[in-house]
Structure formats: C-alpha cells, structure tokens
Symmetry: C2
Subunit: 244 residues, 2 copies
Amino acid sequence: MVPQKTLGALVMSGRFYGVGVGPGDPQLLTLQALKVLQESQVIAAPRTKGENTMALDIVSQVVDLRDKEIVWLDFAMKRDPKARASSQKNNTELLLAPLRQGKSVAMLSIGDASTFSNVSYFIDAVKEDGHEVVIVAGITAFSAAAAKWQVSLTARDEPLTIIPAGATDLDEVLALKGSKILMKPTMPVEKLIASLERAGVLEETRLAERITWPEERTLDSMKGVTEELGYFTTLFVPAKEKEI
Amino acid sequence: MVPQKTLGALVMSGRFYGVGVGPGDPQLLTLQALKVLQESQVIAAPRTKGENTMALDIVSQVVDLRDKEIVWLDFAMKRDPKARASSQKNNTELLLAPLRQGKSVAMLSIGDASTFSNVSYFIDAVKEDGHEVVIVAGITAFSAAAAKWQVSLTARDEPLTIIPAGATDLDEVLALKGSKILMKPTMPVEKLIASLERAGVLEETRLAERITWPEERTLDSMKGVTEELGYFTTLFVPAKEKEI
C-alpha cells in the first residue's frame, strides 16, 4: 500500500535539489533531506542580512561538509526590483556553473522549500539550462511552533490562513474565519499590535521567535509586547471557536 | 547560533508523543520522528475507514516494530457527535493505560501532528492524567505536493489559505486573495468543479492524490475531472498573479 521504493531517488550528478532544512533544529530535517545533502557535491547556502548563514549552520550539525563545495548565495532583502533582479542574476550564474560541470547542487532553504522560499526563483532557469530539478519538502516554522505550543493550527471546519505580515492588509486578514499564521512580520510592532487589538485577538495571539533554536522565545499572548519583531517570528491567532 | 543539543530529548517512559509521520513516503519522516518511534515502547496507530492503517504502514518501513506494543485507535469518521464522543472516550482509555504503566506512547499522525490531526483531541486528557506531552512536527501533504509540482505555495505579498473542502463555503474562500489549498474534499465532485468554474480557476487548479505513495496521482488541471475525490486528495489553486 505504501512505498517500498522511496520518492528520494539517488542523488544524481547535474541535478538541482531545492532542500527544505526545517526551522532550526537539525533533528527536524527529513531522512530524504539528510540523504540528499550527504550525497550532493555542492551545497548552495543563502547568506542574507536577516538570516546570516543559518541554513548552513543547521546542516553543518548533521552533515560532514569537509568534502563539499560551498556556494554562497547573497540575496537582496530590499523591495527594490533592480537590486532583486541583479542578485537573482548573480545567484543563477552561481548555481548553473557547477551544474554545467555535471555536479549535483543542493540549495538550502530554511523551513519548507515551497513556502516563502527562495528556491522557487531558480527552478525555471535551471530547467531551461537543461538540468533536472528535485524539490525536498521541509518542516515549516509554523508546524514547529504548533508542536511546541501543543495546539492544533486547524479547526475541523475552518480555514487556516498564512500571511506575510507587513505586505498584506492585516485588518482584512484578521476579519477572516479560522486561524491565522502571521510570518516574517516586517510591519512596525505598534501597527501590528493595534491591528490585533482592533480584531479583539491581542490576548490570545501567540508568538514564536527562532523556534527550536537554543535562543527560541515563545509567548502565549501578545499583550504588552512593544519591541520590534525579528524576521524569524511566527504569530498564531487561534480561531474564535473550536469544535471537537 | 543553532542548537548543539536538540529539541528532541531522549524518549522518556510515561511520556506521550504525538508524531507527524508525513504524507506517505517514510523518507519524509524527520530525524526526530524516527528517533522517537524507535525508542517508544508503545505505538498508537489510527485505524479508520478512510485511512486504514496507513500511518503504521509508513512507520513499519523504517522502524523495527517487533518489540513494540501496538495500540489500535478506531476513529468514528462520522459527523455524529455521539459516535465521536464515544470513540474519543475509548481511545483516551487505550492511550492512558500504557502511560499509567510508565510506558512511552507514540501516537502516529499522517502528515503534521498539528494540522488536521487527531492528536490534538488527546493532549488535554493526557496532561490531566499527569503525563508529559511532546509533539513532533511532520511534513504536510501540501508541502509534499508543492515539492512534486515544483511550485511555490506562497506569493511574496499574498496569503495562503488552507481549507477543509466540504465543511467550508468554497465560493467564499475562492474569492479570497492569494493561493488556496483544499484538503480532505468531502463535497460531491460536481459541486466542487462548479465552484472552481465560477471562480475562474478550474484550469489552473492542480490535484495530488496519495502524494508520495506508489499509487500517487497528480493532475495539472481539474478540467474534465468527474470522478469523486478520495480522502487523501490535496488541491492547489494558485494565486492569480505572482511577483518575483
């Protein structure tokens, strides 16, 4: 009924792997991710102002990197389209060079490789250059935070809405039915708090920062929070009613 | 910066573990889940009409079950509150019995343990009976489906809405901004198709059934689909516009 052979084929030369490495604890890597990383010749690691080298730090705890070629991908964190396009172009070249030499390249992505991940920006270019692409799913920060809080993200009959807080109209989203996850909050904290207050959910909104890291911080309520929120913050607004 | 010691403490006797085992491929278990399952004395496995014994089938491929005590949890799949309450009570007793004997119990959950999972129904009762609870996050079917399709679930500035299709008003949800994931579709397929058609998204809606299983089926469009959808079906409605 369930696979004898696994989804994760052997790592092949000249293939591009987009690998979700989970939120921070290397024990949250999947068996497939571990295997792909162990077998890949090149590891492409994002290096941003906000994230630093976190993805590679996670991997370095469970994968021997001594024989790996490391390619650093520098991402423009700005919203300026020109800066984005330029870093996109540079990074594509950095990824294609080893692929053209027939090497297997695993690009790391914090969390899941399909949820707010940079991996998606390279898939088309890699394919157009003639290389095979394999995406390896990862544990999201919101699943890890829910595990820590021991809460269900979903109510039986209600939606779960996941939003990048800052880009989206928060008042509008908070008015929706069901639970909400707010990720990567880039809006000023007082605006966010005011919005939670208007929606009447300030007290029950939970916070998880750097979940599963040693410096992890969790709060069961957003009441009284005044400091700006970091990039690695996940908020959970539970649904008003839950049914068993 | 990142953990030396891991989140996953050693498995302790008398502890209850809610373990997400991923969507089907055992290679999508996390390292933490594997360790907890290897070390737990008792494995509690759901056995439902829709799911059969799938969660245990996944685990049996990577964990030696010969020395494990298996506890079967039978779930009422009906919406009848009485049937639910009765199966809930029986299952709670089945879980508490080994915990009271000081044994470690790992309850399996397909996908993630906090997303449409039965684990959440037992957390309070287990705690009230004096036992410690640890939840282990898992890969969701929608992350695995996105990996297969090589698509991004999220657009930079837009929400992602995850709904149980059948319980929720689909027209209302499809009118929301951003991408949508429809899970566990229990509504008649013609109603669902009609709703996708009204929203103008029939052609671009993707289907994944039993993702990562050998009998996995994926479709890049819902156009022409007429057969009823199984319980293990995930649909993805991409956002109208995407920005890089």
